[in-house]
Symmetry: C2
């Protein structure tokens, strides 16, 4: 029996789905559901294609209360830049959670992932950063450095941004972009210790395999969101930080143990506090987050299929409202 | 960087991709590669959605020598018939094996799966059935009963078909369809023992959880392809048959152990011959199949991601040649 399927390109999605409070609220709802235990989120399907220096990951999750569920396919082919193509591509497919029929194809080349990842950072900032943030710092100078700061500014309207990267010129470009998009002061900071000292909120956004943020830089009233580590070899935070923080929170414990900062801390024998809370538990009040302005808090984000289902469901709604995309009867 | 993606609906695919020798040869090539050990085929990703009596499976495989790899998403929502929708739907996505870019979306609602499944039966018949088949029998009366016979007839042009099903009227309808499509004699047979006795090739195509083909019905010169079992609860062949056959062959041993006839035989303690050969090894000569006209042979098919990659790659080539489908720049 034929039914209608909406097909959206990256260009159409960029016009219709913007990083705003609606996106952040939707992703927050997904985290709350994730921690309630009712979400079904199978392990990631992963396939390597060594002949092409490539890999492909498939993520999915079902969230009760959402009309659809997404399946996201993310290929990474790391020789592509040699022939002028991006390494990362991919698409999301939205299915009806009632009938399993395909409802929409988002040929987004990772755009929706960028947005939902930044939104998760804003959810962490909303529930864990101090009420007042004057200065936000970002470590890393890529797409997520820009988007994480843009998202966090929606929930903590800080007046100043500091950017550190291994390459100062990249940090300067990133700061200029942030200043232009948010209309606030933003500058590169050559010393990451000083960046942390001056910030109440720091987001790490690097693919680093060695800590870029040291335990001796911690200070009262600091919140850190570490979102760069999403593979078992990556590590952005000094493993001692997790134990020293007043609250350390995972997006998903089972993933952070394998892919996040928690993995490094466990391997170093520096995690002694049992099962950490999840971000969704902090949202619902069932898990411990910040309890005073002087607390040091850390949120570890590895990226979840629940966020994909949330952003895909919202994207469909926004695209229908905007009349964007191509409809195919299949 | 924008690139072109072909989108094909089920109706377009039905017009362009027919069950013929080209399909069978392509699926045969996939089986040969699968047994060579170079294929990358991760375990199936599976998610249940109990709230909707639904499930979704994701399969993929990379085959060296094929330009692309497919990811197939198969939702099964078993309350759909109550609202007039089919239980099974789904799509295949074809990616370039060199760059990971999406090349084609096949909104096939399972049509390509039907075709590649029937083609696997024909590959088994080509390499394992006796040279001369006068009569073919089919147990089961659904879509695959028709397609398996149609495919097998391309490699063993038998003159007569017998059909058995639990419901005689269904068997009669199935036989009439086969007679019409192949232009040969086909009739319902009320006694499955007599069906097997008169046939040199028997295909079982049921979702049965209890054997539908008994060991005492075996006779010299019989080949059986059991393609119905694709879940751990299913079982079509008396478990003794596997051990009694001169050659028992799997599409993929690791799957047949969990989902196929081999699972039942192992559980019953009736499989004693070590690791079975795979169909691809029989094709290449590395595994034992039929060695004489009087041998009894059995092939156990559970369905592989390698077949999906094969049919999707071929479908793209055929659709480009026919100019069918919609092209989107994304």
């Amino acid at each position: 029996m034929a039914h209608e399927i909406s097909i959206l390109t990256e260009a159409e999605l960029r016009k219709t789905v913007k990083l705003d409070l609606t996106v952040i609220d939707t992703v927050e709802q997904a985290f709350a559901a994730l921690a309630s235990g009712e979400v079904v989120m199978p392990p990631i399907l992963s396939m390597e294609i060594p002949q092409a220096n490539g890999e492909v990951d498939v993520k999915t999750a079902y969230i009760p209360g959402f009309d659809g569920f997404a399946i996201k396919v993310s290929p990474g082919f790391f020789d592509n830049p040699k022939i002028g193509l991006p390494s990362l591509n991919g698409l999301m497919i939205l299915f009806s959670a009632k009938t399993g029929l395909v409802e929409a194809l988002f040929l987004d080349n990772g755009y929706l992932t960028d947005i939902r990842t930044a939104a998760a950072g804003a959810v962490a900032a909303r529930h864990m950063a101090p009420e007042t943030v004057e200065t936000a710092g970002v470590i890393g100078t890529g797409v997520q450095a820009r988007l994480q700061i843009e998202a966090a500014h929606l929930v903590r309207p800080f007046r100043k941004v500091l950017v550190w990267g291994r390459d100062l010129a990249n940090a300067e470009r990133c700061a200029a972009d942030i200043a232009a998009s948010l209309g606030i002061e933003a500058r590169a900071e050559a010393d990451p210790a000083r960046l942390v000292a001056e910030s109440q909120l720091v987001v790490t956004t690097t693919p680093s395999r060695e800590p870029v943020l040291k335990a001796e830089w911690l200070h009262p009233g600091l919140h850190i969101t570490a979102m760069g580590s999403d593979q078992s070899g990556k590590n952005e935070l000094d493993p001692e930080i997790l134990d020293e923080a007043n609250a350390y929170v995972c997006d998903r414990v089972s993933q952070c143990e394998k892919l996040g900062e928690l993995r490094s801390a466990i391997e170093a024998g520096l995690w002694t506090k049992g099962k950490p809370a999840e971000l969704g538990q902090v949202i619902s009040g069932a898990g411990k987050g910040r309890t005073s302005a002087g607390d040091i808090t850390v949120c570890d984000l590895t990226g979840t299929g629940a966020q994909d289902t949330a952003i895909a469901t919202l994207a469909r709604r926004l695209c229908i409202a905007a009349g964007s995309g191509t409809v195919i009867t299949a």
